[in-house]
């Protein structure tokens, strides 16, 4: 089956019912997508499927045919959101961070606080109490505004 993974066409041979999460981690070697609960509650495995955040633990691989999947690796290592999460301590242990960053990205530029909270409600963080995650997202906006 073919899909666009992080902007590049790829072809992967795996059982169609295999979880997207396992295909990414095991077949594609992209371990930035984390498993937290395996039932779509924690959001640690969030990836963008056609730009929409989804839990990769709930998606059978076959559903991704001819679609675009973006994982945390697809952002490279210089995205301002990534640095903001580290600088503002929006990441503590870091296990929820890839999913958080991708969900935050899907909120588009300058999300209001209300939209941020609603948008991130499917991504659990046990370390931060979320406040520093809001600060990280807002700091990117502030940074952009300055430029």
């Amino acid at each position: 089956m073919n899909l666009t993974l992080n902007g590049a066409p790829v072809s992967v041979d795996a059982h169609p019912l295999k979880r997207l999460l396992d295909v990414l981690r095991e077949e594609c070697g992209l371990t930035g997508t984390k498993e937290g609960c395996g039932e779509g509650e924690c959001g640690a495995c969030t990836v963008l499927l056609d730009d929409q955040p989804v839990c990769a633990c709930l998606i059978p691989w076959a559903q991704c045919e001819d679609r675009s999947v973006i994982t945390i690796e697809g952002l490279g290592d210089a995205h301002p959101l990534q640095q903001a999460f580290m600088d503002e301590v929006g990441a503590q242990c870091g296990i929820c961070t890839p999913g958080m960053v991708l969900t935050a990205l899907s909120l588009g530029p300058n999300p209001s606080m209300e939209r941020t909270k609603e948008g991130l409600a499917g991504n659990l963080c046990r370390c931060t109490g979320y406040e520093a995650i809001y600060r990280a997202i807002q700091s990117v906006q502030a940074h952009k505004a300055k430029r």
Binding site: M86, Q92, C93, G94, V101, R126, G129, Y130
Partner: protein
């Protein structure tokens, strides 16, 4: 430029945000097998048969007979087996280990366990098996009660709490030499190292490497020893790397939780609010094995009288065995339970006396020079009054309590404290070590303290940089590998900054003298390697009587006050926290952003403990062992937080710092329940789910009648000796 006191760039790098950082489940080794644990499904009984109802070709199978050393998870008391031999004491107790290269085949393997069942005990107050008892006595209780104008009694309860680190427990064991190296999600690598040596018989090579750890909160303090022993057994038998990663259900079902508690208070007060006598009875549910329960009871008991002065105090505590998985370390370690009871009880005393709850706390709060329940004389860094006043002012408590009266909003306060470091002579016994050494690029610090999200690496590097007077960027942190780093003790008990940080500070001072003005890299180039190892030295004035529970229970305490504002739906009794003001005196914030993160994260966990996190046990097993049914606060459940850090320095801490990690979880539950109480609803337990609040509301009476009720509520304490 100083690093300490500024929010420098963290040593973690960018990897956590790019997905490049490797956690246990991200590790791959050639020829690696996956491991699985077959567990008991009954809470109490005997194992009489094991049948392998599958084709065992390609499987590695271990049971207790494969253990080369002692069948034991070595911790405090030698009672918990690594694998069941005959007796089963709780559901999910490990019996057989399987490994296979194909995970589907592994999961499909059917192992049948046959039992003789016995009658289990689940109620800690009905259990006949005492795990540990303690008694703390001060003054004369009878005289204290005799001089009281009013006696207030009550019983308070807290439930289990699950850690829900987002990364579940997991390790990979790899054969190395005649033994193993274990990589894993671990808080205390030397606990694991020791457990492996005992289980393997003491002769074999053992090395433990902490992988980046996706949250711990105490949940990866003792349990990883069990998991590492299992993976090591399979790895040695198969001579291949073996990875065991628990899924969420297994993690919640089998691993430790916060101890449930039932706490009774009987307090004598003068009509002006002065406390004359405190009698506290603490019962905690230890579960099926000792694990860390004696120490949890100890910390819980020492904090049970709260941050208040009282000349006549008795605190009795019992940890009881039951047939549930052992309860264990969880941020706060007994203190959140006992201080919940104390602070809700204080609220009820204020209600009884019809006195302002802030004034009641002001009147009784510990001051420098006062004695705690164990007779510890508090020093100048005791700031209970200051945090209380600051929180009341900052939150607008007085204005809001008037404004909210009669609305669906309520406000509550909780004053609390938390001892830094191991209890009593614990730190002396540990004798923790840490080291600093010159490298070609600067200085490297070596500790076994683990980074589990809280910022250990960064905070330690800041201390070393400033103690040496070198740029923070020149300090690197050694990987936590038990073959490389000295044993700095476990990463628990709010000790990593105050205790281990202090050892590093002393080592750095000595290294600075050796360098004699030279830059570390230059010294390394010209004179070669130089390293300073130091051991922890407790304050020379610290005295502790382990037998009588008298003296300096901790080197010092951090002090804090939370004010919680909540909104309640009068139809559904759902309580939503709106805002928490958290004023916390931690001596010195080495890294203000990380310190604030600890308070915000701990407060959010406290909100979960207070309102929504409910472990439902049935026949000794957690029946809601998945995140669908056991919910932790999401963005929409977490209130706005206003965190204020105060800095009354503790002279024996590095740059004045004290313990911080656990403090913030002690306050939210009582502050929130006290806010619910401001509606006139007599809630005395957490989690205060809508059902709990509704039942309390149905049973609640007007304040005047409740005044009578509180005097007779609950069974007399003397009946429970």
């Amino acid at each position: 430029m100083h690093a300490v006191g500024t929010s420098v760039k963290r040593k973690d790098g960018i990897g956590k945000a790019t997905g490049q950082t490797k956690y246990a489940d991200d590790l791959q080794f050639a020829g690696m097998l996956y491991g699985r644990t077959v567990r008991a499904t009954i809470p109490c009984g005997r194992l009489v048969g094991v049948r392998h109802d599958f084709d065992t070709t390609g499987f590695t199978i271990c049971d207790h007979r494969d253990i080369p050393g002692r069948n034991l998870v070595s911790l405090i008391v030698d009672d918990q087996p690594c694998l069941v031999e005959r007796d089963i004491r709780h559901v999910a107790e490990p019996v057989v280990l399987l490994a296979h290269e194909d995970r589907d085949a592994l999961l499909a393997a059917n192992v049948l366990l046959e039992y003789e069942e016995q009658a289990p005990v689940f109620d800690p107050t009905a259990s006949q098996h005492v795990l540990k008892e303690l008694l703390i006595e001060k003054g004369n209780l009878d005289r204290g009660f005799a001089s009281a104008d009013v006696i207030v009694e009550g019983t308070y309860r807290t439930g289990h709490q699950e850690h829900v680190y987002i990364e579940t427990n997991g390790v990979v064991a790899v054969p190395e030499g005649d033994g193993v190296v274990v990589y894993g999600s671990i808080q205390c690598p030397f606990y694991v190292d020791r457990a492996l040596r005992v289980m393997l018989g003491g002769q074999r090579h053992v090395r433990v490497v902490q992988t980046e750890t996706g949250g711990g909160f105490g949940g990866k303090e003792e349990y990883p020893s069990m998991l590492a022993c299992h993976a090591a057994l399979l790895a040695i038998k198969s001579n291949r790397p073996v990875k065991i990663i628990y899924d969420r259900v297994e993690d919640m079902l089998a691993t430790t939780k916060r101890h449930p508690s039932i706490i009774r208070h009987r307090t004598g007060v003068k009509s002006d609010g002065r406390i004359t006598a405190m009698d506290v009875d603490v019962v905690i549910d230890g579960g099926a094995y000792v694990t860390l329960s004696p120490v949890v009871l100890s910390r819980g008991g020492i904090h049970a009288a709260g941050p208040y002065r009282c000349a006549n105090t008795r605190i009795r505590g019992r940890a009881m065995f039951t047939n549930t998985p052992p309860n264990g370390a969880f941020r706060g370690f007994g203190a959140p339970q006992t201080q919940f009871a104390m602070e809700v009880h204080m609220q009820r005393i204020a209600e009884t006396l019809q006195m302002d709850p802030v004034k009641l706390r002001e009147r009784n709060a510990l001051r420098p020079g006062d004695l705690t329940a164990t007779g510890q004389k508090l020093r100048d860094d005791c700031s209970a009054l200051q945090v209380l006043k600051e929180a009341v002012k900052r939150s607008g408590y007085r204005r809001k309590s008037k404004k909210y009266a009669g609305t669906n909003r309520g406000i509550g306060v909780a004053l609390f404290f938390h001892g830094s470091g191991f209890t009593g002579s614990g730190e002396l016994k540990l004798g923790s070590r840490a080291a600093v050494e010159c490298t070609e690029s600067g200085v490297r610090l070596l500790v076994s303290s683990t980074e589990i999200g809280q910022g250990t690496r960064t905070m330690h590097a800041q201390i070393v940089a400033d103690a040496l007077g070198i740029p923070y960027e020149q300090v690197e942190v050694a990987p936590v590998d038990t073959s490389i780093v000295p044993d700095s003790g476990p990463t628990v008990a709010s000790r990593t900054c105050m205790v281990v940080g202090k050892i590093l500070e002393r080592a750095s001072h000595e290294l600075k003298e050796k360098l004699n003005g030279m830059a570390p890299a230059e010294y390394f180039r010209l004179r070669g390697a130089v390293r300073v190892d130091k051991q922890h030295v407790p304050p020379e004035w610290l005295r502790w009587d382990e037998e009588r529970y008298r003296g300096d229970a901790y080197a010092t305490y951090a002090w804090a006050c939370d004010v919680a504002e909540v909104e309640m739906d009068r139809d559904t009794f759902e309580v939503r926290p709106i805002r928490i003001t958290a004023v916390q005196d931690i001596g010195k914030a080495i890294h203000p952003a990380l310190a604030t993160g600890q308070v915000e994260g701990g407060t959010a966990q406290g909100v979960g403990f207070a309102l929504i996190e409910q472990v439902v046990m049935k026949n000794g097993a957690m029946v809601n062992a998945q995140l669908t049914n056991y919910t932790i606060p999401t963005t929409l459940d977490t209130p706005a937080m206003d965190v204020v850090l105060l800095e009354n320095p503790f002279p024996e801490g590095p740059f004045g710092a004290k313990g911080l990690g656990e403090l913030p979880i002690d306050g939210p539950a009582p502050a929130i329940v006290n806010a619910i109480r401001s509606f006139g609803i007599d809630v005395r337990e957490v989690p205060a789910t809508p059902e709990v609040v509704m039942l309390a509301a149905q049973g609640s009476r007007p304040a005047v009648e409740r005044h009578v009720d509180v005097l007779t509520y609950g069974a007399p304490v003397s009946a429970s000796a």
